[in-house]
């Protein structure tokens, strides 16, 4: 019996995986961006599930916009990354400490 809770739980799991990914990564910044995409996907999932179970199309509209904004944000984030790489010649997370103290 597929209930709403199962979809929501799935979304919750993806969300927490995304959060864990942001916090524990040490490799490079790209992983952070990818985990952001995971977060956004889980939110979209939530919306679609609710829209289906409440028979309201507004959820899907919202997903539409989230998709748009997520694409824009990914583009800009990558542009920032490229600029950063050009300046520091490295995208190692450990070296990005200029905010220290």
């Amino acid at each position: 019996m597929l209930t709403l809770q199962s979809y929501l739980s799935l979304a919750a799991i993806i969300f927490s995986i995304g959060i864990i990914g942001i916090v524990i990564n040490r490799k490079n910044i790209i992983i952070v961006m990818m985990c952001t995409e995971l977060l956004l996907i889980s939110v979209n999932f939530n919306f679609i599930a609710f829209s289906y179970f409440n028979q309201d199309i507004a959820g899907q509209i919202f997903v539409f916009f989230i998709l748009t904004v997520a694409a824009a944000e990914a583009a800009i984030g990558l542009a920032i990354l490229v600029a950063l790489y050009r300046n520091k010649k490295s995208i190692d997370v450990q070296e990005l400490r200029t905010l220290r103290n």
Binding site: I22, V23, R26, V32, V93, R97, L99, R100, N101
Partner: protein, 651 residues
């Protein structure tokens, strides 16, 4: 009109004192003398005028506010004057003795560098005492109370370079303070019951609260009137030096002799007795308080008298005599004979001041020698002093015809007829006290003025006139004032509109007709004979067979030691209480103040903030994922809270 006059009488000594204090040094001795004596003289003349006006027209007594000092909501505290017979008699006593002391000081403090300061202080003291007796509410009473305490402190420590004087004035002030604590509690209790501090209101409504009780614990209730009276008497115990708060008075002899006469014989120490009389409407409603007063008074009367027998300083003997006589006054109040108590207060003021001033005259003549073992045979050298001292001593022991006789006898009569609890004990105490009084008085007298003239005293001569005149002026009332005043004051209703006491028949058991009749009546009682017997005994001990006292001292050595050490009261206070509080203060200072407040709280806070902030600073690591983790942590906590809230669990 009387109101304005009383106000002037009150303010004059204050203005005189301030002028002398500020300008005395620059304007010279004549100015200081003149302005202060003028101030007190004006006050004295006004007091006499008020007395005459009131005697002629009893309607003139008044109770009027001068101005409202403070008004909070429905509570009004004001400064006011209550001038009735009691007030005016106290005013006359205070002003007269103060005037005598002012004149005396011209000669006594002639060479002292603090001359002007002294006059300023005694004028201010007169003002404080007057404000105490003229007050019409408890607040002003308290102000006067504290003010006389402060002036006493300043005057006892007048020679502030002497260490013993400093110790003595601290002792006086602190012990006074202990008494004042009780007084404050009593006033607060009355205020909380009545909502006002006005005498008139409280006295009129006192009867309505006789059933009011103060619950001290679940099993112990005490009538609030009794408690208030006991607390007020506690204040009187401090000020009037009853046992156990009597220890300051002998040490207060460190001050100059004039103030011993003024403050510690005639006025300040009698403030307590005055207060008892003024509060008679309250005390009459509580027999247990009266019994307590009686017991304390009688213990004081007899035990301090015994102490006077073994002293060698001329002023200390008289000081202990004062203590003993104060005990008498308090005993009289305890048997509800307030008028007798006040009468004794008045006569005592005269003859005790006289004795003190005479002692001062001896001291000055002998160039400030105070040990009576170095005196003797001075009657040929100091004749006027000798005669006035004789008059004073006879008055003190109650020799028939002198003023002290009338007051003491009336007092003892009242005690013998009373039926208050412990009145029998009091009667025996006062009776034995009469014997002891005459013993120490004439011991002093004989040792100073009779016996062998010592070689170093060959050249003494009478001091100057400004010292002798007050002696003479004080000797006159000591001799004569008993005759005319005993009738109206004690037996009839001179004080009727001021104090409440049972009718004279109930108290004295004796129908008064006139003074001569009183004299013969008391010749049928034991008191006079005991007093005269005492004269003979001391004559034998100190003139004829002068070795007996030492033999008695060695035979009863433990008892003698007890007396020499003043019943170890001073020892107790100094070593137990004072040390306790000293240690407490010290440990509070070193541990509390330094360790806790300075180190832990003040310095420690700064130190801990520094440590904490350096650790917190590590949170700003620069790693973004650290920051992200913090955000996530916050999210986790928030979700936890939501979970708990929605599941109904209460954290």
């Amino acid at each position: 009109m009387l109101f304005n006059l009383s106000l002037i009488a009150l303010i004059m000594p204050l203005i005189a004192g301030i002028l002398a204090g500020f300008f005395g040094k620059t304007l010279g001795k004549i100015f200081t003398n003149g302005v202060t004596i003028l101030g007190v003289l004006i006050s004295f003349i006004i007091s006499i005028f008020i007395l005459i006006s009131i005697l002629e027209n009893p309607e003139l007594v008044f109770n009027q506010d001068v101005y409202t000092w403070l008004s909070i909501g429905s509570y009004k505290l004001s400064i006011g004057l209550l001038v009735d017979n009691l007030t005016v008699s106290m005013m006359i006593v205070v002003n007269f003795v103060s005037l005598m002391v002012h004149i005396y000081t011209i000669g006594y403090m002639h060479k002292d560098p603090g001359y002007h300061r002294f006059f300023c202080y005694i004028s201010l003291f007169t003002f404080a005492m007057l404000s105490l007796v003229m007050s019409n509410n408890f607040l002003q009473l308290f102000f006067g109370w504290e003010a006389v305490g402060v002036m006493s402190y300043l005057l006892i420590g007048f020679w502030y370079t002497k260490e013993s004087a400093i110790k003595a004035n601290f002792k006086a002030f602190i012990i006074n303070r202990i008494g004042d604590m009780f007084l404050i509690l009593g006033i607060a209790l009355l205020f909380s019951i009545f909502g006002t501090l006005d005498y008139e209101y409280i006295f009129n409504n006192a009867e309505s609260i006789t059933s009011n009780t103060v619950v001290l614990s679940s099993s112990f209730e005490i009538s609030s009137l009794t408690l208030a009276c006991l607390l007020l008497f506690g204040g009187a115990m401090g000020k009037s030096a009853q046992m156990p708060l009597h220890v300051w008075l002998p040490d207060s002899m460190e001050g100059p002799t004039p103030i011993s006469a003024l403050i510690h014989a005639a006025t300040m120490v009698t403030a307590g007795v005055f207060m008892l009389a003024r509060m008679s409407p309250l005390f009459e409603l509580s027999t247990s308080a009266l019994s307590f007063v009686l017991i304390i008074g009688s213990i004081t009367a007899i035990s301090t008298g015994l102490l006077g027998l073994v002293q060698y300083d001329i002023k200390r003997v008289i000081a202990y005599s004062t203590l003993s006589q104060l005990g008498y006054m308090v005993v009289a109040a305890g048997v509800s004979a307030y008028s007798a108590s006040l009468f004794h207060l008045m006569t005592h003021a005269f003859f005790k001041a006289l004795l003190f001033l005479a002692a001062g005259s001896v001291i000055v003549a002998l160039h400030h020698e105070q040990d009576i073992r170095k005196m003797g045979g001075l009657r040929s050298k100091l004749p006027i002093t000798y005669i006035t001292s004789l008059i004073g001593s006879l008055a003190l022991i109650g020799f028939p015809g002198f003023s002290g006789f009338f007051s003491k006898d009336a007092l003892i009569e009242a005690v013998s007829h009373s039926s208050v609890y412990a009145s029998e004990f009091a009667y025996y105490c006062v009776l034995i006290g009469v014997l002891i009084t005459s013993l120490y008085t004439f011991r002093l007298f004989f040792l100073v003025f009779h016996g062998q003239l010592k070689d170093e005293n060959i050249n003494v001569k009478e001091p100057q006139l400004s010292i002798l005149i007050p002696l003479i002026l004080l000797a006159i009332p000591s001799m004569l004032i008993g005759w005319p005043t005993i009738g109206p004051l004690v037996f009839n209703d001179f004080f009727a509109n001021s104090i409440i006491q049972p009718s004279s028949n109930d108290i004295f058991g004796y129908e008064f007709t006139d003074s001569y009749h009183f004299l013969t009546h008391s010749l049928s009682g034991p008191v006079v004979y005991i007093a005269i017997f005492g004269i003979f005994v001391s004559y034998i001990l100190y003139i004829l067979k002068t070795d007996i006292p030492e033999k008695l001292a060695t035979t009863f050595n433990p008892f003698y030691k007890l007396l020499i050490n003043k019943y170890y009261f001073d020892y107790l206070y100094e070593n137990v209480f004072a040390r306790l509080f000293n240690n407490l203060g010290n440990s509070l200072w070193s541990k509390g103040d330094i360790k806790i407040i300075d180190n832990f709280i003040v310095n420690g806070t700064a130190y801990r903030v520094g440590r904490f902030s350096s650790r917190v600073r590590e949170l700003q690591s620069g790693y973004i994922y650290h920051y992200a983790l913090m955000m996530v942590l916050g999210l986790a906590l928030f979700l936890a809270w939501v979970v708990f809230k929605s599941s109904g669990l209460v954290l």
